[in-house]
């Protein structure tokens, strides 16, 4: 076991409740995320895991509760502001830009850092080009890291599923986020692909010190990777703790295995 570098609380979820009409999706959820840790959210289908991520990055606005990010209570924000604050994510059902190449997709991840204006981009030579080249270099490093050099110029719509997942991870990484939200990055993968993806997740966490919030159904992967785990079930928080604690929690066992009534 290598040395973990876990810092202070970077994001705190306090008493979040979210409803769509009459349906209560999240009910009084509270947990915190520490700098540099791998934090997993698990639970059966429909437990509200993806909704939780959507609350964290500002897509859904909860009716109750607050989010404290980097010590500040977060006001209601627009969807595109999360990226500026350093929150990037991948999606359960891949949300890549299908008509664009791998390279361009990952380049979009750096849109926050592109500063040249419309006129400079229209002329291209000069500032815009310098900027393009600078970011291209970073993106190429990400491409090397994820071992996707060969598909650099392929439109992502033509790539197999596993590769698309990887490109999506690359796009999120390109933003150099504080927190990386991964929504089922290994869903539908075979063992080998899962191993690759697990390695990437660990490397990202280790090399860049990125805090990772992970939703995953494969319990083996979750228990191996995570520092701490939150368990949700039908919008209710069942447990929160280290993988071992969660594994032995009676409520969790009941939710996963079912109880005789």
């Amino acid at each position: 076991m290598f040395q973990r570098n876990i810092g202070d609380v970077i994001l705190e979820v306090q008493g979040i409740s979210l409803s769509f009409g009459a349906m209560r999706v999240l009910n009084n959820i509270s947990f915190d995320i520490r700098q540099g840790e791998i934090r997993s959210i698990i639970g059966p289908n429909g437990a509200g895991k993806s909704s939780m991520l959507n609350v964290i990055n500002g897509v859904y606005h909860p009716q109750e509760g607050t989010i404290i990010f980097q010590g500040e209570r977060r006001a209601e924000m627009k969807v595109h502001e999360a990226a500026a604050q350093g929150i990037a994510r991948t999606f359960q059902n891949i949300a890549l830009f299908k008509g664009m190449s791998t390279l361009d997709n990952i380049m979009t991840g750096r849109n926050q850092m592109m500063k040249s204006n419309l006129l400079q981009q229209a002329i291209y030579w000069g500032k815009a080009q310098k900027e393009e080249l600078k970011h291209r270099k970073v993106v190429e490093e990400i491409i090397d890291f994820l071992e996707i050099q060969a598909i650099r110029k392929t439109p992502v719509g033509r790539l197999p599923y596993g590769m698309q997942k990887r490109v999506e991870l690359g796009r999120a990484l390109a933003a150099e986020p504080e927190i990386l939200l991964l929504d089922e990055p290994m869903a539908g993968m075979n063992v080998e692909e899962k191993e690759d993806m697990s390695r990437f997740v660990l490397d990202i966490n280790d090399e860049f010190g990125t805090t990772i919030v992970l939703i995953e159904h494969d319990m083996g992967v979750v228990m191996d990777l995570s520092d701490r785990v939150v368990v949700l079930d039908y919008g209710v928080q069942l447990a929160d703790g280290s993988p071992d604690e969660v594994r032995n929690n009676q409520a969790v066992i009941d939710a996963y295995l079912g109880v005789a009534h």
Partner: protein
């Protein structure tokens, strides 16, 4: 039918505005003549014209619901059916036979469109199918006029076109408009019943929800499409007869389709009641605006008023009055 509360309020608010704005304009400006009987005359005339818009919009909605195709050719189908009807009548066919023959031709057209256009383009993006229907529009406009000539023709189906006085002799209404509205109403109700209670209607609604799923439970997609396009053809023929006998059968009938577009975005692309209510609001709003607002800003605003009205609506309710709310998931 279940109506959302918001929709109810929007309709109420539009009604209030339709009364308040002309009244205020009449009070404030000397150029505007405002009297209550005159107001109602204009409003009713507008509503009756609106029924005709609804009729064209209805054809759009049917096809959009069943196949997701935004059928730009609906207006061309109106023109084509009216041209064919008049052409057959001129050849000496009695009117009932001419109507039957035209119906048969519209069914054949629906079959050909399914076979030659829709089937090869199945699973293409919506914009491609939309473009294809523009292609159909051009073809039908050209074909109809090549076949039957392009001069204005008179279509006489034996209804009087005399204005009559109603409500104690104070309000002038065109008899023809009343009859047209009545027929359109009957058509709408029978279509609603058809879709609600027949087997084909149920299959159609299933296809509208999810055509892959419908296919997998054994609903023959291509038959459904032919049926829907045929029904849309029938609706087009009715609209063609109404508009044709009112305005004469001529190329401008095809342009009426464009007027049905704001009706559609107001009512929602997938809603039959939306097409009706949208048509009424656009019809009345347009006439009222033309009479009570246009003189203040130069006149002739009928060209764009319906679109602007629909646009203003959309900003508040992007899915239209009765359209399904689009929920985005990630």
């Amino acid at each position: 039918m279940h109506i959302e509360r918001d929709v109810f309020y929007i309709i109420l608010a539009s009604l209030a505005l339709m009364v308040a704005i002309p009244w205020a304009a009449g009070m404030l400006s000397e150029d505007i003549f405002f009297e209550w009987p005159f107001f109602f005359e204009v409003a009713i005339g507008g509503l009756l014209a609106g029924v005709m818009y609804s009729l064209v919009a209805l054809g759009f909605v049917l096809i959009f619901k069943a196949s997701g195709v935004f059928n730009f050719a609906q207006g061309a189908m109106v023109l084509f059916s009216a041209l064919t009807l008049v052409g057959l009548q001129e050849k000496g066919l009695p009117i009932w036979l001419a109507i039957l023959a035209t119906l048969a031709i519209m069914a054949l057209l629906a079959y050909l469109i399914e076979r030659l256009v829709l089937r090869p383009l199945v699973n293409q993006e919506h914009i491609i199918l939309f473009m294809a229907t523009i292609g159909i529009t051009y073809f039908l406009d050209g074909f109809g006029q090549t076949l039957w000539g392009s001069e204005v023709k008179i279509l006489d189906i034996g209804f009087s076109n005399q204005p009559g006085f109603y409500f104690g002799g104070k309000i002038l209404i065109n008899d023809f408009d009343l009859i047209a509205a009545l027929i359109a109403g009957v058509l709408v109700v029978s279509l609603a019943l058809f879709f609600q209670y027949t087997r084909i209607g149920r299959a159609l609604r299933a296809v509208a929800d999810d055509n892959q799923a419908a296919l997998s439970v054994g609903i023959p997609l291509k038959h459904i499409w032919v049926i829907v396009w045929t029904v849309a053809g029938v609706v087009a023929l009715v609209a063609g007869i109404m508009w044709g006998s009112k305005l004469g059968v001529q190329f401008s009938l095809a342009l009426i389709a464009l007027k049905a577009l704001p009706v559609l975005i107001l009512g929602g692309f997938t809603s039959v009641p939306g097409a009706i209510v949208g048509g009424l609001i656009i019809g009345a709003g347009e006439k009222l605006a033309e009479v009570f607002i246009a003189p203040l800003i130069g006149g002739g605003i009928e060209d764009w008023f319906a679109y602007m009205l629909a646009l203003a609506f959309l900003v508040f309710r992007p899915q239209g009055l009765f359209g399904e709310k689009i929920i985005e998931r990630v």
